[in-house]
Each structure stands twice: as structure tokens, then as C-alpha cells.
């Protein structure tokens, strides 16, 4: 799916955090959104991913405005994946059950294959407090990918990982992006530039530069 955002503006109370953002994300591309804290990258990511309604402006998926989507929950489940800075795995469920929680019926059969692709198949029955930080984040990525979404949004996905695990996460994103799943990743980490197709630089709520 191609995503188009037009003239996005957003306020938190009096604070003007997005000041007219126009961007487009192409099907299967790996886009990094970089910038200082408070530059508006997380807000942009939240609006693009349907979690937040912009104060002004519009977002369209393949030309269809989000405001015209009837069941936004179902739309999100089918087309969008999320990876947060913290893994947010449910502690009383095994890694496999966490992935299954997100899976639509027809995709449940793919869970084991996906866990194998991410190198955590042997941990499927373990719980989040029984595995390492990197393994948790891989399980969170598996959960984001289980329905083969059009795009995965990730907000500082390597913020809690060491360099080696962080690079592992970017490599995974790159691999799945090459298979056609789009990624939009907000990050402070400059190493992401080595993996992304496009880098959107944010500053004070506007797009300062786009590098391809």
C-alpha cells in the first residue's frame, strides 16, 4: 500500500507539534524518520498508523482517506503492524501465544514459520521474562508481521537494545522490506541510515529534508 499524508498539523493543547507535513511512503519501502526529541516524529508516526487523528490534514492508504475507513480496528489489524520501544509482550502468555494474539485466523498457521525466520522458534513456549531483550523484541516484531501487513510502524524499536541486537533488528526490517512489507521507523540511531531506503529528517514539526 502507498501512504500519502497531506498538510498534517497537530496540536497537543497549545503546543503545535506538526506544522504542515506532506510525505508519501511507498509500498515495501524502508523509511527512517529521524530528528531530535520533540521534533514531531512520534506524532507523525502515530497519525500515519491510525492511532492518532490529526488536528488538520489527511492520510490516505492507496488513495482512500482514513476518515472513510469503516472499521479502523480491523483495518489496523489487517494492514498495519507495530513495534514499540518497549516490547509490550503480555507476560502471562508465551512468545508464541503473544504472536497468536495478533494473528487473524488464516495466519495462525504461519506463526511457527515466522518464529523460525526470526530465529526464536526454540523459545516459542517461553515467557517474556525467560528470554533476553533482543529475543523479546524479535517476538514483538513477529507479532507485528504475523498478518503480513502492508506496513510496520516502529517507534524507537532499538531504544532498549545493545548495538549488536539493534543492528539485528534493522537487518530484519531490511529483509522483510525486500519481501514487500513497508517499514516506517522513528529513531535517534544514526546507524539506521545504512539500512533505510528513505530518510525523513524532522525538525520543530516540519520535514526539514528527505534523503533517498
Amino acid at each position: 500500500m502507498n501512504i500519502e499524508a497531506h498538510a498534517l498539523e497537530h496540536f497537543y493543547g497549545q503546543e503545535h507539534v506538526l506544522r504542515g507535513v506532506d510525505i508519501s511512503l511507498k509500498q515495501g519501502s524502508f523509511t527512517a524518520i529521524v530528528g531530535e526529541s520533540g521534533s514531531g516524529k512520534t506524532t507523525l508516526l502515530s497519525i500515519l498508523s491510525t492511532l492518532l487523528h490529526p488536528t488538520k490534514g489527511s492520510v490516505a492508504y492507496d488513495g482512500k482517506a482514513l476518515s472513510q475507513v469503516g472499521n479502523i480496528d480491523h483495518f489496523r489489524r489487517r494492514h498495519i503492524g507495530f513495534v514499540f520501544q518497549f516490547h509490550y509482550l503480555i507476560s502471562y502468555l508465551s512468545l508464541r501465544e503473544n504472536v497468536a494474539l495478533a494473528a487473524l485466523g488464516e495466519n495462525e498457521a504461519n506463526i511457527d514459520l515466522l518464529l523460525a525466520e526470526l530465529g526464536i522458534e526454540r523459545l516459542a513456549k517461553r515467557y517474556s521474562d525467560e528470554v533476553s531483550g533482543g529475543e523479546r523484541q524479535r517476538a514483538a516484531i513477529a507479532r507485528a508481521l504475523v498478518n503480513r501487513p502492508s506496513i510496520v510502524f516502529a517507534d524507537e524499536p532499538t531504544g532498549n537494545l545493545d548495538t549488536k541486537n539493534a543492528l539485528g533488528v534493522y537487518e530484519l526490517f531490511r529483509r522483510f522490506s525486500d519481501e514487500g512489507i513497508g517499514f516506517a521507523v522513528a529513531s535517534h540511531d544514526k546507524k539506521i541510515a545504512d539500512f533505510a531506503d528513505t530518510i525523513i529528517e524532522m525538525e520543530d514539526g516540519i520535514v526539514k529534508a528527505i534523503h533517498t
Binding site: 480496528d73 489496523r76 489489524r77 520501544q85 518497549f86 509490550y88 502471562y92 495478533a102
Partner: protein, 359 residues
């Protein structure tokens, strides 16, 4: 189901608190309903023993206060369709060392209703003791009732706790103790179809008399209404306390699991799925609490039944109807108590996960 059980196990402390709160509420509903139902059914059973029509003093609030002239029974027994008329004095008096005991003054014809365990039916100056009070008083040969001594002629056994914990004596002796001729007449009919006509005739005998069919008397008896209303009010309070307990505990549970519900929302799980998950968790607790409360209530009722202190007057029974009613109440309590916190959980904004960045 397995997921719900895992969630309950993970949050075992709060699960235990909800379970205890629900068990106490359900047990309270069981006990108050069973005890009040027991009181009503015991007294009803006693009145129904051999009476199709009950005659009392008009306008009295309680049969214990009723005072009617026994001579009217002679007129009633002559009426067409009347098989038998029993006069009864219902009273309560101290029997040393018990502060209050049910006393039943009956005419000789009614003695057959008391099944003797030992001895014989009482003559003048004698009393027949229920097995429960005989046991409480350690099988006495005499008792002092309202400062007058009576010889114990025998002991009877009755399934009706009020009788089994009471004293039966001749109508004449009871009349002297309570200074009245009779409390009520129990009229037995040959043909129930004539009851309306007979009630009219009895009421016409004297403006002081009030006749009703036994069923209609039981339905309209003020004491039963008071007991039933008190039981309903206490039961409703226990129900509301149960709901409040669940609401407050589930609100804490939802708050603790905010990240979990936020992530579900971000994954696109619908509000309905989240609400259903929480409801199923509380329903599991409710079923367990119901089972435990039932068992505990049966145990408590059994203890009360055999406690000398209560003289057998409190004899609650958990009937199938009561079981079904409390089961429905338990399920409703769980659903209503969980609904608000569940709706709140289903509306948790996943943005909070991104903005707060902590679990």
C-alpha cells in the same frame, strides 16, 4: 478459557481478593435467603398441617397477638362441609434457663400430629417437649414455664424446627399461661370447593373473626412479608456490595494491565474482544466463588441447625430454586461489576504506550 486462566493466575493476588469478595457476597445471599425461607416454610408447614382455613382475630399483625373465643369453634364445626376444627394457642415464654421458647396449646384431637419419641401425650399440668428443647434442657422431668412448674409427659420429634424446639401443652393450661381462650382455629374441610362460602359464613359469625384460606393467609401474613422484605433488602445489599467490590478490584486490575489492553488496541483487537476477555475472567471467578459459597453456606446452615443456642428455630435449606436464583445472581453480579472497568479497558488509547514508553 486457558488464556483467561493464565491471566487470573498471573494476577493471583487481585484474583484472590475478587474471589473472596464475591464468595462472601454470594454466601451472604445464600444464607439470608435460606434462613428467611426456612422460617417462612417452617411456620407455613405448621399452619398447613391440618388447616384448609385459618381463623384469627380480625386485623392482628401476628398470630401471637390473636385472641379469639374458643366457643366460636363449636359454631364453625357445625357448618356444612367442615370436617374438623382445631383450636390453637400460639405463644412464646421463658422456660428456665432458656429466655424464649415457642409454646403451643392444642386440643386433644391435634396431639396426633406430634410423633412421640418417648412418654405419652400431656394431661393437665403436663407438657410435651420437642426433641431439640429436650436435648437443650438435658431431658428434664419438669420445666418451669412462666414461673409455673409442669411435669414432662413425653418427647416428640418434628421436622418443623419451631415445633421441635418448642413446648406443647393442653389448650386449657396454655390459656392460663397466656390469658386467652385461643389464638387461631385451623379448619379442615371435606371439600375445598366450599372454602369461599365457608369463609363468608365464618366472617359473618362475628366481626372479630377473620377467616382466610391457609394459602391466602400465608401470602398475606405480615410477619412473612417483613421477613421476606428484610431478606430481600439484605440480599440486595450483599449483591450491591459484591458489585462494588468487583468494580473496584477490576478497576485496579485494568489499571495494572493498561499496557496489555493498549497493545491489544494497537494490534487492532476490537473493543468487544477486550470486553469479552475481561468478562470471561470474572465469570470464571464467579463460578468458583459460587461453588465455594454454596459449600460454605451448606456447612454454616448445618452448624446452625445443630447449635443448641438456636433451639432448632433457624433451619435454612438451600433448595434447587434458591440455588438457581443465586447462580443467576452470581453471574449477573460478575457481569455488571466487570462491565464498566472492561469498557474502560477497551477504550485505552494505545498512544499512551508510545508516549509513556513503559509497561
Amino acid at each position: 478459557m486457558i488464556t483467561a486462566l493464565k491471566a487470573l493466575r498471573k494476577n493471583r493476588f487481585k484474583t484472590a481478593l475478587i474471589f473472596i469478595s464475591m464468595s462472601v457476597s454470594i454466601a451472604a445471599i445464600f444464607l439470608i435467603s435460606a434462613i428467611s425461607g426456612g422460617v417462612v416454610s417452617m411456620y407455613s408447614a405448621m399452619l398447613k398441617t391440618d388447616g384448609d382455613i385459618i381463623v384469627t382475630q380480625r386485623g392482628i399483625a401476628d398470630t401471637f397477638f390473636s385472641d379469639i373465643n374458643r366457643s366460636w369453634s363449636d359454631s364453625i364445626v357445625k357448618m356444612e362441609g367442615v370436617k374438623e376444627v382445631s383450636s390453637l394457642i400460639l405463644g412464646a415464654a421463658p422456660v428456665d434457663p432458656l429466655p424464649i421458647v415457642g409454646v403451643y396449646g392444642v386440643n386433644e384431637g391435634r396431639f396426633k400430629n406430634y410423633s412421640l419419641v418417648s412418654g405419652s401425650y400431656p394431661k393437665v399440668g403436663e407438657v410435651l417437649l420437642g426433641s431439640k428443647i429436650d436435648q437443650s434442657l438435658k431431658h428434664p422431668e419438669t420445666i418451669t414455664l412462666s414461673k409455673k412448674e409442669f411435669h414432662v409427659s413425653g418427647v416428640f420429634k418434628s421436622k418443623i424446627g419451631f415445633e421441635d424446639g418448642g413446648v406443647v401443652m393442653n389448650l386449657g393450661d396454655a390459656g392460663e399461661v397466656f390469658h386467652k381462650s385461643a389464638s387461631i382455629f385451623l379448619v379442615s374441610l371435606g371439600n375445598l370447593e366450599k372454602s369461599d362460602a365457608l369463609i363468608g359464613q365464618i366472617n359473618g359469625l362475628n366481626p372479630d373473626l377473620e377467616a382466610k384460606t391457609t394459602d391466602s393467609f400465608i401470602d398475606s401474613y405480615n410477619q412473612f412479608k417483613i421477613i421476606q422484605t428484610s431478606s430481600d433488602v439484605i440480599g440486595a445489599m450483599a449483591f450491591l456490595m459484591g458489585i462494588l467490590g468487583i468494580v473496584s478490584m477490576m478497576s485496579m486490575v485494568v489499571n495494572d494491565r493498561k499496557a496489555e489492553f493498549g497493545i491489544m488496541r494497537s494490534l487492532g483487537l476490537s473493543s468487544g474482544v477486550i470486553i469479552t476477555r475481561l468478562l470471561s475472567e470474572t465469570l470464571i471467578i464467579a463460578l468458583a466463588a459460587f461453588a465455594v459459597a454454596w459449600g460454605v453456606s451448606e456447612g454454616v446452615l448445618e452448624l446452625i441447625k445443630h447449635a443448641d443456642k438456636f433451639q432448632g428455630y433457624i433451619n435454612g435449606e438451600i433448595t434447587v430454586a434458591l440455588l438457581c436464583k443465586v447462580f443467576v445472581v452470581s453471574v449477573v453480579m460478575a457481569l455488571v461489576g466487570t462491565l464498566l472497568p472492561a469498557v474502560y479497558a477497551s477504550r485505552i488509547d494505545p498512544m499512551s504506550l508510545i508516549q509513556k514508553g513503559s509497561a
